[in-house]
């Protein structure tokens, strides 16, 4: 049968209909031979008098994955199904059955039992540019014979463009590019790169090359142009047809180099060298990433810079307490998502503690003490005890601090009694008996050095703790200047407390020979990091 009309295209749509003899029970469906990657339907119905069966089929020559989505509750909820369709195969979705039998979707979600209407969408997940799916729908009406249904509309693309314009690619590194289409139904960019595979071309291949899929590789620093061509499902206003259209998008390609030339937290020396063709510029940022937090800072307050070398110091007190494992530099010379970046994994992580209280300790010298003498004992590792006279304030301070240098018996250290338990003479105890030592060694086994050694909690000599013997401890003022770089050498059992509102407590060994701590105040509260 042939039907002629003078109307505009798609003003008349062929519909297949079937009714019972009383015209009370009927079913209708429109005819369409359109293939598309994306279909949307405005209405389906399900109630005691109606049911909707929506179908989609694979009109292509290869298998494809079809995604079928029902929207309901004003589009806020969705029910999702996926099915692989062989060429010629159809997917039938009886919405009434899904609701009645509470059949779960691919995410385990079921449709509400009282659901009566909604919309739907069909997508070809394998073919984005030129789809292979056709759509059909049958709506039953058991009462009046007349059926109302929403047409399925194919959703083509109004316009196309490359992902990045310009595309900036790091020298010698690959950088993907592709084609986006502006979806006429949803009003968003969607990836239709598959319609443009195999047709990519770069004008100057000594600067950059491109492969079948649009992956570009910088060959040398410079600028050139990249383009591709292909077909995609287009869109024609006022019709349900989506014509196949051709396109050849192109954009400049900047092949640039970026190198992190310094990354030294202790000297706050962070710098990068960037290179490109003349005229390319963008903001340069450097940063570091930790387990939980990140930190980044720009060169010259986010100003655009061209090729050159730039120092980008960190505002170190701005780094949150965390363990930082990488340093990153990015030159923002491309569109977002394709920025040349270099990232370095730190050989020595930055363990940032934030503001830490730094107290001081020393080894009192008997020569600085003033009190009268008292009876005391000194002993050696063979547990030979000798009764001696030491100034009483020296005895007190040696016990409190754990070490002292006597006038006549050399360096002395506290011992808990574990070394010579049972050998202590009458009157001798751990507060008045001290072990003779050659040097004042910290728990790390090295002689503590004034102005350099620090004591920590937990004990750095125990494997697996926060600190390791010999670690560098960086102290930075609130003005971001270095206060000191010290080294872990000793254990401070009291440093698990006494934070004074800061994030920690580290004890700094001082070379002072003072008998007491009257002149040995805290070193200060400083932003502190273990740079290992």
């Amino acid at each position: 049968m042939t039907l002629a009309t003078t109307g505009l295209p798609d003003e008349v749509v062929a519909v297949a209909a079937s009714y019972d003899q009383a015209l009370h029970y009927g079913a209708q469906t429109p005819f369409s031979d359109q293939l598309a990657a994306h279909w949307v339907g405005s209405q389906w119905q399900y109630d005691p008098q109606h049911d909707s069966v929506i179908t989609t089929g694979n009109g292509g020559t290869k298998p494809t994955q079809a995604a079928f989505t029902l929207f309901y509750n004003q589009g806020t909820q969705k029910y999702q199904m996926e099915q692989t369709l062989q060429p010629g195969e159809q997917m039938w979705v009886d919405i009434g059955k899904l609701i009645r039998e509470s059949i779960p979707d691919k995410n385990g979600k079921t449709l509400p039992a009282d659901l009566t209407t909604g919309s739907y969408e069909i997508r070809d997940l394998n073919n984005h540019a030129i789809g292979t799916l056709f759509e059909g729908k049958v709506i039953y009406d058991k009462t009046y014979g007349h059926v109302t249904y929403g047409c399925g509309l194919c959703c083509g693309d109004k316009k196309i463009q490359l992902w990045y314009d310009p595309l900036s690619i790091p020298f010698a590194d690959p950088s993907d590019d592709g084609v986006n289409g502006w979806n006429a139904c949803g009003g968003f960019w969607e990836d239709i790169s598959d319609g443009f595979y195999g047709n990519w071309n770069v004008v100057n291949t000594s600067i950059a090359t491109v492969d079948y899929y649009g992956t570009h590789t910088g060959q040398s620093v410079g600028s050139t142009t990249s383009s591709t061509y292909g077909q995609f499902t287009g869109w024609r206003p006022g019709t349900v047809n989506c014509p196949v259209q051709g396109g050849s998008p192109g954009a400049p390609v900047n092949s640039v180099s970026i190198y992190i030339t310094n990354h030294d937290l202790e000297q706050n020396n962070f710098s990068s060298t960037v290179d490109s063709a003349a005229g390319v510029s963008g903001a340069l940022w450097m940063g570091t990433a930790g387990t939980t937090y990140g930190y980044s800072v720009s060169y010259n307050n986010d100003a655009n810079v061209g090729p050159g070398s730039y120092a980008v110091p960190f505002n170190r007190p701005g780094l949150q307490p965390d363990t930082y494992t990488t340093v990153r530099s990015t030159w923002y010379v491309g569109t977002e998502g394709a920025e040349p970046t270099e990232s370095i994994n730190l050989v020595r992580d930055y363990t940032v503690f934030g503001t830490v209280r730094h107290s001081t300790y020393n080894t009192p010298y008997e020569s600085s003490c003033t009190a009268n003498t008292q009876t005391a004992w000194i002993f050696n590792t063979s547990c030979n005890f000798t009764q001696v006279s030491l100034k009483s304030d020296f005895v007190t301070q040696t016990y409190i601090n754990g070490s002292g240098v006597s006038l006549n018996y050399g360096s002395l250290q506290y011992n808990s009694g574990s070394l010579c338990s049972g050998s202590y003479p009458t009157g001798a105890n751990t507060t008045n008996s001290f072990l003779q030592v050659t040097n004042i060694d910290g728990s790390c086994g090295t002689t503590v050095v004034g102005g350099d050694s620090v004591a920590t909690y937990p004990n750095p000599a125990i494997v697996g703790g926060t600190y390791v013997c010999g670690d560098n401890i960086l102290l930075v003022t609130s003005a971001n200047t270095n206060q000191a770089i010290k080294h872990v050498a000793d254990y401070c059992p009291a440093c698990s407390a006494g934070f004074n509102g800061t994030n920690g407590h580290i004890d700094n060994y001082n070379s002072s020979q003072a008998c007491s701590a009257h002149n040995l105040g805290d070193y200060g509260n400083f932003w502190t990091a273990d740079t290992h």
Partner: protein, 337 residues
């Protein structure tokens, strides 16, 4: 030891809040790389007030309607000037090793407490007799905190600040209403400045010479609190202890039972404490606590991260705390022998 807590009850009670974030990018000042020597301390660029600064001793005093006490500094000697109403002022010199005074407060029985520091780590508590104008007792400690009424001092038992091997924290209580001898284990000299007070926690520890040093670091109890926290009526105080992967919130009641505290505890595993942190190196301190006013009320404890911006709040009903009963006998002081 402590009864383990049902982990499921924490899920409903815990309120976790992780703070912080990626700071906005901005340029820092140019670094001065020459400042690395010990002597180049710029106090203006240090952050916050220092805790121990004896060369700049802050003015410390106590005043009420009939008593005034004020710290005097004469050379390296620290003196408390006592002015009782209607009486001439008198001076009480403090122990010579005391380098800084942090607090003076009135205690029971016409006594006073002076809490100060002997160096950047260690503290000393002195008890003044305001009738005899003398120091009647003095002991070394870590983190001492007096009860609001001045009767008690909660503290960590002293160990030498360095070269003492592994140390663990024994949480002690001193009763200023008692004599020096009554605050020491039987047979201990009253001049002993270390083996002082009653051990409140860990349980079954007692108080013996050197019992807090040379411990197994894997089995050591370490304070996990910024401080000891006293209730306003001085009847109860709290702190947190860390033992392995267990944080224990400890409540100690001192009212009405001959001043020997009744200890109750609740355990929080590291997993429960740090569930929202997603880090292995989760170290936290109890930073604040609200005590229940009535038995049916709850205790509200706030923990903060030590090396990461982190905050974890717990609310416990008092009946969720386990109360070990065997504790009291082993901590009997000399006065009860």
């Amino acid at each position: 030891m402590c009864a383990r807590t049902d982990p499921t009850r924490l899920a409903a009670l815990a309120v976790a809040l992780t703070m912080g974030g990626d700071p906005a990018g901005y340029l820092g000042s140019k670094p001065d790389l020459n400042k690395s020597r010990e002597s180049q301390v710029d106090p203006h660029h240090a952050t916050g007030e220092t805790l121990f600064d004896p060369l700049h001793q802050r003015a410390i005093s106590y005043n009420d309607s009939d008593l005034s006490m004020k710290l005097l500094v004469v050379g390296q000697t620290l003196i408390v000037n006592v002015q009782k109403k209607g009486a001439p002022s008198k001076r009480i010199p403090l122990p010579s090793e005391l380098a800084q005074v942090n607090q003076i407060l009135r205690a029971s029985l016409n006594r006073a407490l002076v809490i100060g520091m002997v160096n950047g780590d260690a503290w000393e508590v002195s008890v003044l007799d305001l009738n005899a104008y003398t120091v009647t007792d003095s002991f070394l400690a870590y983190e001492p905190v007096a009860s609001p009424d001045g009767r008690y001092v909660a503290f960590i038992k002293f160990f030498p600040t360095h070269f003492a091997g592994e140390a663990e924290h024994h949480y002690m209580l001193y009763d200023a209403k008692l004599a020096a001898s009554e605050n020491r284990p039987a047979g201990t000299n009253s001049s002993d400045r270390v083996n002082v007070g009653i051990c409140v926690y860990p349980l079954h520890i007692g108080n013996h010479d050197g019992d807090n040093t040379n411990t197994d670091p894997q089995d050591a109890h370490i304070m996990a609190a910024d401080n000891f926290f006293w209730s306003s009526d001085s009847a109860i105080y709290s702190f947190a202890d860390k033992h392995g992967d267990i944080f224990t919130l400890v409540l100690a009641r001192v009212e009405g039972i001959n001043a020997i505290p009744v200890v109750s505890t609740i355990d929080i595993t590291k997993v429960e404490m740090c569930a929202s942190l997603h880090r292995q190196d989760c170290e936290v301190h109890l930073s604040a606590i609200d005590f229940a006013k009535r038995p049916e009320e709850s205790v509200h404890a706030i923990f903060r991260g030590i090396n990461v911006p982190f905050r974890q709040e717990f609310q416990f009903r008092l009946d969720q705390f386990a109360t070990p009963m065997a504790h009291q006998k082993e901590n009997t002081l000399s006065r009860r022998e």
